[in-house]
Amino acid sequence: MMHEAISRRALLAGLAAVTAAPRLSAQETALSVPWMGWPEEQVRPLMAAFEAANPAIRVREERLPLGELLKTLEVRLAARNATPDVYIVDGPLTASYAARGHLVDLGPVLAAEKDRFLPSALAQGSFEGKLYSSPIATSSQLLFYNRKLLADAGVAAPSADPAQRLTWEALLPMAQKLTNAGSGVFGFSFENSSRPYQILAVPQSWGAPVLGPDGLTATGYVDGPGMVASLTWYQQLFTTHKVSPANVFDNGVIQQMFGAGKIAMVLGGTWNLEGFEKAGVDFGVAPHPYFAAGKPVTPTGSFHVGINPRTRNAAQAQAFVKWLAITPAMELWLDLRPYPPVLKEVWEKRSKTTFAAPAWQIVQHELVHTATPRPATPGYREYEDYLRLALQDMQGGAAVQPTLAAAARNIDREMRKYR
């Protein structure tokens, strides 16, 4: 297998690079590349494979811990100098960096490659019609259910067929049946119940716009009737029906609860396939639910790469970004860290092996048909922050409409600087 050969060679090159501190020869260029803080064995081999293919370029990657990634990039970019050359971009922040002059238009660089990407991934890297960041990974969400808990409660397992996906209206009574306050079991939970990444799919499935068409207007949209109605439904999961654990935000606790059999159904990312397997849960997967009156919508998007406009190594930086769009590179990356790929070819080549499992069949369907990127606005980070706080307050019982109206006012205030 070709990819195995590549990864073995890359691994050796990577080890050599780690043990012997590389010294630059006269013709070599070193690229400064801030990257996510994934384990070294998932990062270095990818860089080493690029170096093997481009002997005149060295990649000096920096593995920044998640909590410090965005902060550190802000400090570096605020300096507005030649470093970094290339950097990892959280997909929905593409517009933010582009509007502030921190990204190069990659249109000319990737002109010949555009058709090879999944359209939803390209859309996440685009702003005002231009491609500013090249996707290297995407994401999708699945409904994970604990087979034993469903069987014990006499609840039929949901179908894995996207054509027969659950409606939210059908999911609620199932979750109510599965909830058992006495033994501390909850029927259903979102994995990240206050992250707009995951929750925006609820109003979007309802058919509600989540931000004005100009990408800068929140009032009238964030607190519009569709948002209020769909998020009232969301709030009731926690406050009225109590089928979801309230006030659990972002610390991996939901995953642990599912692993311990304390949540029967979790809507979560594909990364859980491996995690729940390790936890020893007998689980099945089904597609993301939707509102009967609306349409199926799934969260998507992940990491991209972009080029600093002030780099002194533009040619080398472009070579790196272009290399990350070739199939063997993305296959190696898939083997190192199994994010859903962004290249159609990778899906095709692996359809009989990696992606033969039913879970990946669902993911592939979602990425092509239902994946909806987060709104392309230069103020995404501000938007996300205020919306997240609003969602947290709603779980605590705050009235939906005034909470959203306040969030909309705050977002509008922060958006003024982009007008």
Partner: protein, 287 residues
């Protein structure tokens, strides 16, 4: 005081050079920066006091000032007295005291961010052992940092858990500096234990206590990682410390002018607090 004929510069130069380059110059840049606005394309423009005017007319800012003052009025005396109590407890030799002393300082090597992650899990409602314990002994599970009345006390508790042993060390060094003979003389004169504490230990501990109170106050005004990790300023603004506001302005809302204006306000509030504290603990002359 002694006249030095210029030799003091040799003593001061290395430290002052380091502070000037790596602290005071960046601080000066930050203070001046609060008078500028930065456009999203990075163009810098003088705006005078505009950043402060916007800040002072913002009700969220004043709410945050109130939370910050409340937090500091409670946490600083609390940590000082807990640390002093612990120092007095471990000062005299005794069986196993070294072991107790080591246990008390253990948390100082847990970084602030990690202490927040640790307590986030330890006090979590569904999977945290603390709530299991409270449930088991019949008190019932508590929301801790997820409740608008418990969140600030929880943060104060986490900070004190981490800090008490650390501040104890400074006071312990101070206690060791009190000559044994002073205490013995007082004991021979028939002074009670309280009298000896009040008239011998307390006056001689003023310098170390001033140090702990001042440094602790500064540290607590700049405290924010647990807010960021555990509460995001909530619930309902109950933990919305100024420092968190400054952080949000700089790194989430991309508004450097506002961030530096808040930082400047923090600096001035600290100056007022520290000036008062120095006055309170001024050692009696000639002691």
């Amino acid at each position: 005081m002694l006249r030095s004929r210029g030799v003091h510069w040799w003593f001061l130069a290395p430290a002052l050079a380091g502070l000037a380059i790596f602290r005071l110059l960046p601080i000066l840049i930050a203070l001046v920066g609060s008078l500028f606005g930065v456009s999203i394309r990075g163009d810098v423009r003088f705006v005078g006091l505009d950043n402060f005017v916007v800040l002072f007319t913002d009700p969220e800012f004043w709410a945050s000032v109130r939370v910050t003052l409340l937090f500091n009025v409670i946490i600083n005396p609390l940590q000082l007295f807990v640390a002093l109590g612990l120092a007095l407890l471990v000062r005299p030799p005794g069986r196993g005291i070294i072991a107790f002393r080591t246990v008390l300082v253990l948390p100082m090597s847990v970084s602030t961010a990690l202490s927040a992650i640790l307590f986030g899990l330890f006090l979590e409602k569904n999977m945290g052992p603390m709530n299991g314990l409270l449930e088991w002994i019949g008190i019932g599970a508590q929301p801790f940092y997820r409740d608008m009345y418990q969140a600030l006390p929880t943060l104060i508790g986490v900070a004190t858990w981490k800090g008490a042993g650390y501040w104890m060390l400074f006071l312990l060094a101070g206690l060791y500096a009190i000559p044994e003979s002073v205490n013995e003389a007082a004991a021979i004169d028939g002074a009670s234990r309280w009298q000896r504490f009040r008239h011998v230990t307390w006056p001689l501990m003023k310098r170390p206590m001033a140090f702990v109170l001042v440094v602790d106050t500064i540290a607590n005004f700049l405290f924010f990682a647990p807010v960021y990790i555990l509460t995001s300023g909530g619930p309902a603004g109950s933990t919305n410390l100024l420092m968190f506001q400054a952080y949000q302005a700089a790194f989430t809302h991309f508004d450097p002018g506002r961030a530096l204006a808040i930082s400047t306000v923090i600096l001035f509030i600290i100056l007022v607090f520290v000036a008062i504290e120095f006055r309170m603990f001024r050692p009696a002359e000639g002691s």
